[in-house]
Amino acid sequence: MRFRPRSGYLSPVKTARIARDWLASWRQRDNPVIRVLAIGQSNMACIVHATELMQQESRFPPGLRFTFVQMREEKYNPYFPDANNRDRLNPAVEEDVKAQLAESDLVVSYLGGNAHSVMGLLNHTRPYDFTFATADPLDRNREMVPRNLVRSSLRDSMAEHLKMFSALRGLIDKPMIHCESPPPIPSDQHIRDHPGVFANRIETKGIAPASFRLKLWKLQSEIYREFCAANNIEFLPIPEETADAEGLLRSEAWGTDPTHGNIWYGEQSINRLARHLSTSNR
């Protein structure tokens, strides 16, 4: 049975139902192992490492098998290299993804997820704030920028990435799930201790308040949810156990830079996917 992607907007509920129905029929086959083609960028690194560790320690979910396509590999960049056809995806991506698809039942995306950090990890020269939800207070010492304007600006900054994501989706004739990226790390100290590429700027600009960064991350997730709904992709939220009461990343999940999750986070994420696939089959 082949999964046929559909064009046009489908609600997240409908998208989930289609994927569930497909998985239910697939489960009736003899071999119950789901072959997952994972495609991602930096947020996939913790998944790769967690997979290795879990397999070594025989904790990897028995019903899953992962193959990874790391989109940051040099051969895949730039994503649209043809100056005469800016919509043509890099042939190396097309070739490798198509080849892997033949051996896959499901595609899981760990693409993107850091646009919120680019825009708001550090304080802006003109510090700003916005309301994400009705009850959100505004920092009166910061310039207020209307929510939809921040959202549209964030969406603009993701345009090239979403174009690539969309082009990839066009190649894939299998069910697809996008995993939400990890929320921000609340600790200024942790970020200062592991500044990564932001080292020089952290000193001059300072780290933006965690509550502000969380709002940007939520906006980003909102954009992904919308994108997924429009592209027949199921959106899978982060594992609940990885977030604190505020919705920020729990310390157990902090990676060794200001924005990424660690192996523990990767493990929770894999287990979250396995649980989701198993409940989808009910």
């Binding site: 020269t125 309301t131 009705t134 207070p137 207020m144 209307p146 939809n148």
Partner: protein, 365 residues
């Protein structure tokens, strides 16, 4: 020796010599500027949608179009434009009437707090009644709305204190106001937000004395805070899209434009450093045989706008290198076909929220 007063009159005083016999693009009713504007002078704009053209040309020609309320740097130029940053010097949207201007100034100084100052939509968004289309999708929360309005009014205060020249384009005499406190709305409640209620809202068509009075009050208010401010008044040549008077829209248009023109004359002679610039005459004048209006007989073509702005830049700003403002004459048939697309593109860029009046829901009323 002159036998009568007309014998020594200059050529521009004669219709044949200055209008009928002149090539279209050389008709110049400005004659002289009341004052000069330097490249460094901060020129602010406000008024009806036609005033947006002035902002656009000042920017294009490298003059100091003063924008006090700028979009945050995270916002792209295109997005800022969609959200009406830089359309005028502050994000007040179209100011169609002189009463709207004077009330804006008073609101900026907290001298006037309209009772009806927020509209909530059915889907929980918030609209500013005094700039109902400033935010394409409304404000997300009441908090956001209040914060944005406070920022806006503070920027208006700053603008008034810092500007060197204000170009104000008078657009309409008709408007709707609150019965409670006389607050005037740029658009009738119910058109782009709010709910129209005859018990709370009433129509008013301002007369010449009221408009002149509002303009004088505005100018005096500005000069109290900025003694050096110079003012240029213009009248929008754009006809009314609809009239609330029970009469033909053509008649209402003639009335409104006549009143605005007279009020501008009264005010420009009543105060020093207040000039009248004849953009209305350039666009609506019969010498161009209607050519400066697009097919809807209402929108001003780019050719018409460029004629206005060429003269504005020439007389007030001493611009000599204004080639880009000049439309090169060409064969008639070629001009029409070649400019249409460009004109339409420019026209749709203008944000005339009056257009909302002509939507079917209003026509069905």
């Amino acid at each position: 020796m002159a036998q009568h007063p007309y014998e020594d009159a200059p050529a521009y005083a004669f219709w044949r010599r200055s209008v009928a016999d002149m090539p279209l693009h050389e008709v110049d009713p400005v004659i002289r500027a009341e004052f000069a504007i330097s490249k460094t002078d901060r020129v602010a704009t406000a008024g009806s949608c036609f005033a947006q053209n002035i902002s656009r040309y000042l920017q294009q020609q490298g003059f100091n179009f003063y924008v006090a309320e700028k979009a945050h740097p995270i916002v792209s130029r295109q997005l800022a434009h969609q959200y009406n940053y830089g359309t005028f010097s502050a994000r007040y949207g179209n100011i169609y009437t002189a009463r709207q201007l004077v009330q804006l100034l008073k609101r900026a100084d907290d001298e006037f707090r309209p009772e009806e100052d927020i509209w909530e939509t059915e889907d929980g968004r918030f609209i500013d009644p005094f700039r109902p289309q400033i935010q394409p999708d409304g404000f997300s929360t009441r908090t956001e709305y209040s914060a944005d309005r406070a920022t806006h009014l503070a920027k208006v205060r700053g603008l008034i204190e810092q500007l060197d020249v204000l170009v104000f384009t008078l657009g309409l005499t008709e408007c709707w106001r609150s019965r409670a406190d006389g607050a005037v709305f740029p658009l009738c409640p119910g058109v782009a937000g709010g709910t129209f209620d005859p018990a709370r809202h009433e129509f008013i068509n301002f007369g010449v004395d009221e408009i002149a009075g509002d303009l004088l009050e505005s100018i005096d208010w500005i000069r109290k805070r900025n003694t050096k401010a110079k003012i240029i008044l213009t009248v929008s040549p754009v006809p009314l899209i609809a009239t609330a008077e029970n009469r033909h829209v053509l008649v209402s248009t003639a009335y409104s434009k006549s009143v605005l023109r007279v009020a501008a004359e009264m005010v420009s002679t009543a105060r020093p450093a207040v000039a009248y610039f004849p953009s209305y005459e350039i666009v609506a004048g019969s010498f161009n045989k209607g050519r400066y209006f697009a097919n809807d007989l209402r929108s001003v073509t780019e050719e018409g706008v460029s004629h206005v702005m060429r003269l504005f830049l020439k007389h007030y700003m001493g611009a000599t290198d204004i080639a880009s403002v000049t439309i090169a004459p060409g064969p008639e048939h070629q001009r029409v076909s070649n400019t249409e697309t460009a004109e339409m593109a420019a026209l749709v860029e203008l944000n005339c929220d009056e257009e909302a009046l002509d939507r079917p829901t209003i026509a069905q009323r």
